[in-house]
Each structure stands twice: as structure tokens, then as C-alpha cells.
């Protein structure tokens, strides 16, 4: 795939044609999503909508974390601000104003973005003096402060929550937001304007020596990133119509972070795919049914054996990565063997795991394994490929074309 921007700059020629086509396709896609309502089961539809929100969240966090290199781990806070600000506005001002539901929702989306953007500015400002790990803790702290304050505000429903009336659901708008978010971030790194952001990530001292206003760049990233999260929050609040502080727990921040990290810090394609995959996987697992028709129960020894298999796999794969110097099929074969060894080890370990007292009879609902799966994935990706699955790579039409050309050449040869 193409490296960030250099090899596939936007060409001034053939510009409007491609552009128009993209816009039409995007609109058609959103319309298609909207049209699906009713034709697929409600729970599937709900997942589709939430997945769109997570795409927005993960791509917008990627702008802050991956592209600008500012390690923020409190993204759910901005999501929450968007939801609560617009929830409050809708409850108090929807009645008696002339707009119908959808235009109002669009305005709320903008209001949520503005509210979260302002909070993002407030978080961004102190962050200017901080690097890396300190910033991480501060963003975590801001998230907690926002959560604690919400819990103690009667006007916001306290820890009980807030009922947003009327409920306004616009799935197409959710996906439109996601597409806008992707487009904006992609445009940024496709034009020269994105380079200062990447430069700040790479080396702050050098970028300021090159005339980059690092302060402004970081704050800009924070504001844009949190504004998108706020817009997503606005849509989420109106979609669910009942919001509680628990819906924006630190857990949510960590899930979004995991998506960005696994997708590949800086890769918009990676964030998008990781959001879809990591959001979809547990939801899909949740739909699995056991033999008795209830939610699928996983026996504890199996989980323990699987964890053991993961450990074995990581050890083998690291060995292959660091010590095995072949390329191509041989390398693939080596990784394949790592998987094989891990599976065998896991199978062999299973009876042993059952010997652990009280584990033999225990089993867990698949849903309760969700966060464990996330945590394990996070650690495994870090140990094997710290730059994330896609690294700094992006999907592009040029890349797709080059793939085809390669195939054609091979065929001709």
C-alpha cells in the first residue's frame, strides 16, 4: 500500500470528475444504509448504526493520536460532552422552535461538535507543555473529571441519566458523519497541510525549527478530533434517547484507543477497518447461541487454554520476526507454523487447565469476555507489530490499480 502521502498526491487534473463520483457514491451509500431500516433485523440495524459512530470516533482519535502523535486516552469524554450538550439543548429548546426533527438533529450535531471542540481546546491547551505519557494521564483525568461532574449535576440527570425527548434517529446521518470524518482526515494528509501534523508527531524540535507552530498544530488536532467525537455523541444521544454517564466510561475510551492502535497509528484506513472489526466481532459473538438456545457459554478451561495458545503464538511469532531471515512464502510458512504450534499447544494445555480447582465446571458468557479479548489483542499487536496492522499505510485507488497492473503483468509474463 502507499506510504502516507508522497506517492499518491492528489493530481490537479482529473480532479472534479473523481470528486463528484466520490460524493455521489458516498451519498448513495448513506442513503442505502438508511433504506436498510426495516429490511434487516432491528438488532443488526442498531449494530450498523453504532459501528458508524465507532468509525467516526476511531478515525477522529487517530487524527490526534496517530497523525499528530499526541497520546490521548480519554476520547469518550468528548463523545460524552457531545451527547450531553445536545441532550440538554433538545430537552429544553426543541419544543416551540420551528424546525422539524432532522434539521434540528443536524443543528444538534453541529452544537455537539462545537461543545466538544471547546472542551478539546481546554484539554489541548495544557497538553502543549506535556509530552507522551503525561499527556495520556491528563486526558484520562479530564475524562474522569467530566464524568464525575456529570454524575453530580442534577440538571444533567446525575448518575441516573438523562431522557432525551424526542428521540431522533437518522442512521444515514451517522454514516454521513463517518464519511465526512474520513474524508476530512484523508484530505488533510493528502495535502501539504497535513505534513506539519505528521512532522509534529515525528519530531517536535525539528518541526518548530522548520517553522511549524507546534502549539497551534496540536491544539488544532485536538479541536478537530474532539469536535468529530462530539458530533458522534450528539447523534448517539438522540439515537438512544436515554443517556447515562456509564455509557461513556473509561472502558469506551480504551476501546476506541485499541481500534486506533490496532489499525495502525496514522492510518485512516486502519482505524476504519479496526473500528468495524473490533466493534462488529463482539457483537457478532454475542449473537451466537449455545445448544440450549441461550447465549453461548465458553467453558473456563477453554478460555485458559486459548490464552496459553496466544502466549505460545506470540513467543513463536516474535522468534520468527527477529531471527528468521527468509522472505516471501518461506516467511509466511514460518508464521503459519507459529499458528500451528500455538493451536497444538493450546489443545494439549486444555486438559491441564481443567485440573485447576473449580475451573472445570466454570463457564463464561461470551459477552463477559469482550474486554479481555480487547486487552489481549492490544498487547499481542504491541508485542508483534507496534506500528499496528496497517502501519502507516493507506488504501488508495492508485494502490488498487497497481495491484491489478501487477496481476496483469504476471499474466502476460
Amino acid at each position: 500500500m502507499a506510504s502516507v502521502t508522497a506517492d499518491s498526491p492528489v493530481k490537479p487534473g482529473a480532479f472534479w470528475g473523481t470528486r463528484l463520483l466520490s460524493i455521489v457514491l458516498a451519498l448513495a451509500f448513506c442513503f442505502g444504509i438508511g433504506a436498510m431500516e426495516g429490511s434487516i433485523p432491528p438488532f443488526a440495524f442498531r449494530i450498523l448504526v453504532l459501528a458508524g459512530l465507532y468509525v467516526t470516533l476511531s478515525v477522529s482519535l487517530n487524527l490526534i493520536n496517530g497523525i499528530t502523535g499526541q497520546f490521548s486516552i480519554g476520547h469518550a469524554a468528548f463523545y460524552q460532552v457531545g451527547a450531553y450538550v445536545t441532550g440538554f439543548l433538545t430537552i429544553n429548546y426543541f419544543d416551540g422552535q420551528p424546525l422539524t426533527a432532522i434539521p434540528w438533529l443536524v443543528i444538534m450535531m453541529i452544537a455537539g461538535a462545537a461543545g466538544a471542540g471547546i472542551v478539546g481546546l481546554m484539554v489541548g491547551l495544557p497538553s502543549l507543555r506535556l509530552r507522551g505519557d503525561y499527556l495520556a494521564i491528563v486526558t484520562l483525568g479530564f475524562g474522569e473529571i467530566i464524568s464525575i461532574v456529570t454524575r453530580n449535576q442534577k440538571a444533567l440527570g446525575g448518575s441516573y441519566g438523562m431522557q432525551i425527548e424526542p428521540k431522533i434517529q437518522a442512521p444515514w446521518l451517522v454514516w454521513l458523519l463517518a464519511i465526512i470524518c474520513i474524508a476530512v482526515c484523508r484530505n488533510l494528509i493528502k495535502t501539504a497541510h497535513g505534513l506539519p501534523f505528521l512532522a509534529v508527531r515525528e519530531d517536535e524540535v525539528a518541526s518548530s525549527a522548520m517553522g511549524v507552530n507546534t502549539t497551534k498544530t496540536k491544539v488544532t488536532a485536538f479541536v478537530i478530533g474532539s469536535a468529530f467525537a462530539g458530533a458522534a455523541g450528539a447523534l448517539y444521544g438522540h439515537f438512544e434517547s436515554f443517556i447515562t454517564p456509564d455509557m461513556f466510561k473509561m472502558e469506551v475510551s480504551f476501546i476506541i484507543l485499541t481500534m486506533v492502535v490496532i489499525g495502525g497509528t496514522g492510518s485512516i484506513t486502519g482505524s476504519t477497518l479496526a473500528a468495524l472489526f473490533l466493534f462488529g466481532l463482539p457483537e457478532w459473538l454475542r449473537t451466537l447461541k449455545g445448544a440450549d438456545g441461550n447465549a453461548l457459554q465458553i467453558p473456563a478451561p477453554q478460555v485458559i487454554a486459548a490464552l496459553f495458545g496466544v502466549v505460545v503464538f506470540v513467543a513463536c511469532a516474535r522468534w520468527v520476526r527477529d531471527r528468521y531471515h527468509e522472505k516471501g512464502m518461506k516467511l509466511a510458512g514460518a508464521y503459519g507454523s507459529a499458528v500451528g504450534i500455538a493451536v497444538v499447544a493450546s489443545l494439549l494445555f486444555r486438559p491441564l487447565a481443567a485440573l485447576i480447582p473449580s475451573m472445570a465446571e466454570t463457564s463464561w458468557e461470551i459477552n463477559s469476555l469482550r474486554m479481555v479479548i480487547f486487552a489481549v489483542t492490544l498487547v499481542v499487536v504491541m508485542l508483534l507489530r507496534p506500528e499496528g496492522v496497517l502501519g502507516h499505510h493507506e488504501f488508495s485507488w492508485a494502490w488498487l490499480r497497481s495491484l491489478f497492473n501487477k496481476k496483469n503483468k504476471e499474466v502476460q509474463a
Partner: protein
Amino acid sequence: MSEDGMTDLQEEELDRADLIHSEGGHVLSLMDATIKFGGLTAVNKVSFDLSRGDLFGLIGPNGAGKTTCFNLITGVYKPTSGEILFHGKSVAGMKPNQIAHLGICRTFQNIRLFGALSSLENVVVGGFLRHKTPLLSSLLLMPSAVTETAELREKAMHLLEVMNLADDAHTRSRDLPYGKQRRLEIARAMATDPSLILLDEPAAGMNPQEKEELSTTVRRIRDEFNKTVLLIEHDMRFVMGLCEKIVVLDHGEEIAAGGPDEVRNDPKVIEAYLGEAV
């Protein structure tokens, strides 16, 4: 908040034009520049002047305070006392990015490229400070932003050709060999279109032939691109053959100044370098 307004930029441009066309004065003057780190005085009352078109050398043993001088001039550190004038305007205490806008740019002794970016992108970052389109037009991919990007890339490509790096334009800068990284740093600094360029040990780690080429390039920078050059270098032959004026630092103090021959025969300089191979 999110964008530098056009007015800011235009003002800056005017400032810069004013500065550069204020004929007669020095390009850069250090007046008793001093900085202390706790108990250590890394640079102690250093004064020297650069005139337009100078090819100026700053030498001295390891730890003499040369890099720290660069850091003072480019705003990485603020001098504890003393003045630094650029075209007669005080730059002491300004932010590095402001100073870069005024027209001073540098390279780093311990190469600081944007490792994950390609050579071309590194140079575009340098050229970016003269951009004109607002951020919003880039976010919305307006034609103006697209055109500007193409222009910046073209200029950057040209600089890469000058530095003989055109073949590596799309290579990640992290993956370049050492000598090329050094040249890429110069290209990146040149892209900011400075009137004064500071080179911190540009020949370090190069073989004799590469050094020869570098000499030619530095002269070209001065003669063809009309830059004033201030450089730090350890290789005496390199410095003596290239620079017309030289200042020698030792333990943060200025111990000698003058032409290459003057400096070479100065007993203080010989003493300072005793123990090091001259």
C-alpha cells in the same frame, strides 16, 4: 483558532522583507550572548557578526558550546543574558518557529529528520511555512489547496535535485544512508527559504569524497542561492578550505576569530586543540 489568518501571514512576509532589505547592517550579530544551565555556563559572552554572503565557520573542541550557540540563535533556548540580532532585530526569546519565519533555518548535529516521512515530504514540511491557503480549504480539498500542494512538491523536488537526492524522493528518510540524511537535512532547511542557514557538523560521518562534494554544495548555496552560511565542523581541512571567517570557542568562551590562517596559527587555538588531533 484552527488557522493562521491571511493577515498574519502577510504581515510576517512584510516584516521579513523589511528585515532583509535593510541594507548595510549585519545579517546576524551575537552580542555577549550567554546561557547557563544550572552551574554550567555553556556559552559565555560570545560576540560575532555575520555579513550578507558570509561563509562563516564556528569551531572548537567537543563540548565547547557550538551547538548551544545554534540553539540560542534559533530560539531553542533563551539566552540568560546578551542580545542576538537578526538584520538588526532582536530575536532573543522568540519561539523557534517565529525565527524560522524570519529567515533563519538550521540542520541538527544528531540528525532530526521526520523519520516516517519520505525525503520529499521532509522537504515539503520545510517549504510549508510559506504556504498561503487556509487549513479549511485543505480539509475540504479545494482546488487551491491541491494546486499549492503540487507547487510545494515541485519546489521540494527541485531542491532534492540540487542536493542530489532526487532518486530517493520517495524513500522513507529513516531508511536513507547517513550521508544522504545529512544532505536531506540541508535540503529541508533550504526549503524554508532562509536568508541565513546554520549547518551543524554537516560533514560528520562522511567520507573524503562526500566531503568534497559537500564543500561544493555549500558554496553553491551561498553563491547561487544567495544565502549567508554559518557552519560548525570538526574537520579542520574542511573548515579551513571552505570558510572565509572563523570563530573559535572553548569552554563556552570565544578564544579567537579571524581568517583561516590567522586562526590556524593562534597559540590559544593550538592549546585548546592540544590532545585532539588537529
